[in-house]
């Protein structure tokens, strides 16, 4: 698909296209270099990590850093926490977020505008600013150093965006489809389940990626709320490669690769599907 405006003669156009391609590839290389360097460091032996001048191509590959990272005593416990927190946050925020999003997209009710403003406004509150009172609240409720406490907190910080995003997706589903289903004898719930929900799938996927990535990445709250080593998340685990004796960069990069891997795989898997979902006529209405 050629979206660039067509002007001038063919050779000039081809030259411009070539320049743009070169620039695009150069920028991509610049953006991708840190990732390349992470992988290279993670897979090469310590002697080559500390080579001067640095080698930019892989010579020998090794898994020693990964072995070391995987054998840290709390690694699997930290993976478990990260997964439980991520999945828990996503499930609950989708469940209650969809309800609110449906109300915002389909009903006009008193207080609707206020709710929209609140939902948009609370996204501005920096999480780091609320750590103290959230900590006090959870400690009163006996939820510090527990995964449900963290899930509850993440949930609240992710709900506004979830609701707003899903509201957009629901609003894009033509209300006539639902009405037709209800005319044909569906209840409102039935119409929602049979008509809106299938069309909403891409929106749910998009929203869950957002929430999952946020939960996977978050650091400060988990750091303050979770004190036992085996309950901490991978973000905190990563910091253990930096000690006062110096940083184990091979281990850190291997750990970083392991931490980033699930998110990257998830992104790669769903990316095309979302694109396809958005492109289908039914969703565009």
């Amino acid at each position: 698909m050629n979206t660039a405006p067509r002007t001038g003669n063919a050779p000039g156009r081809r030259r411009r296209r070539a320049t743009a391609n070169a620039l695009g590839l150069a920028l991509s290389a610049l953006m991708a270099f840190p990732l390349y360097w992470m992988l290279l460091t993670a897979f090469r032996p310590a002697t080559e990590i500390h080579a001067d001048p640095p080698h930019f191509w892989p010579d020998h590959l090794t898994l020693e850093h990964f072995r070391r990272a995987l054998s840290t005593p709390t690694f699997w416990a930290n993976v478990r926490s990260s997964v439980l927190i991520g999945v828990g946050t996503v499930l609950v925020s989708l469940l209650i977020g969809t309800l609110a999003a449906f109300a915002l997209a389909r009903f006009s009710f008193a207080g609707r505008k206020a709710l929209v403003l609140i939902i948009l406004g609370v996204q501005m509150i920096p999480l780091a600013g609320l750590i103290i009172p959230v900590y006090l609240l959870l400690s009163d409720a006996g939820l510090t150093d527990s995964l449900p406490g963290v899930i509850l907190t993440y949930l609240v910080f992710m709900l506004p965006f979830t609701v707003w995003l899903l509201r957009g997706f629901i609003a894009a589903v033509p209300v006539e489809l639902e009405e037709a289903a209800m005319t044909d004898g569906c209840t409102r719930l039935g119409a929602f389940r049979r008509v809106v929900l299938p069309l909403l799938a891409p929106g749910l996927v998009a929203t869950s990626i957002y929430a999952l990535v946020q939960a996977w990445n978050e650091y400060v709250l988990a750091y303050v709320l979770l004190s036992s080593n085996d309950k901490q998340t991978l973000s905190i685990w990563l910091l253990s490669f930096q000690t006062s004796f110096g940083t184990d960069y091979g281990g850190l990069m291997a750990g970083a690769t392991l931490t980033a891997l699930p998110v990257a795989v998830f992104f790669a898997l769903v990316q095309r599907r979302i694109g396809a979902g958005l492109a289908t006529g039914a969703v565009k209405g």
Partner: protein, 323 residues
Amino acid sequence: MGSVELPGPPRAVRPPRPARAPRPRRTIRRRALPYLLIAPTVLALAAVLGYPLVDLVMLSFQDMTRRELFSGATPPWAGLAHYRSILSDGFFWTVVGRTALFTVACVAATMVLSLLVALLMRRVSRWVRTVMTGVLVAVWAMPVMVAASIFRWLSDADYGVVNWLLGLLPGLDFSKHNWFENPWQGFAVITGVVVWGAVPFAALTLQAALSQVPAELEEAALVDGARPGQLFRHVTWPVIKPSAVLVTSLCAIWDFGVFNQIWLMRGGQPEKDYYLLGVYSFIESFAVNRYSAGAAIAVLTVLMLLGGAVVYVRQLVHLGAAE
């Protein structure tokens, strides 16, 4: 892909149909339904966000120390004492200025780079566009802590590849150069990691907005003799402006509250020269145990953020004006 992370360009949305005077009992149920639907969200927000927010403000007027924290006793009232001492402290204003400068630098770099990438993506061949999208999505997927770790390694004093590359330039000696000795240079690295992490979101969103610019319109302008600069200003920009404003304000809000990148790059013990408002408030609370002073700084930060928030919310409401 980019469009999914954002409310996106305005869609045609039909207003909800007015109720057609059904029977009374159904009306009540119908009226109650939206409130039942929003109840869980509202309750959760009120309990875990609203209450702490009120508590934060209360705390900033009290004097909470370790003793009250552990005994659960009500801390003594301190009135405006914390605010008075913070606002008259030169260091606080230094931190405010530093945070503002950092935010402006990050946002400006992010937006210029993203716009460049987004415009470029329209002009390149299909396969280059695929490569660019792939790289952007891969970078986007990187957790903040991972990104900060990588940049720490890139800028390492002894074996960092950045020092080696700069050493190649004639007349520069960067061997064993410690980037974090001078806070200006340290913040350059931190800006680098923040911008690197923010460009994918901004670029893909702007690219999605750019795809809304009708090609015929651009062609017509070019036929009429518009130069590329004019074309951008009068045809392209008006279409993408709403998205650009949205992304800018969102980035500004995020960058103003940056915490993780600094925390990790300084190994969990940032020097005073590296305090931004988020870090300052956190350290006052949890490292020095002056919870109330930390709360007061947090309250002031939120108030300052309201400026950015107003722009963002107004833009969103404007975009959603169709409903």
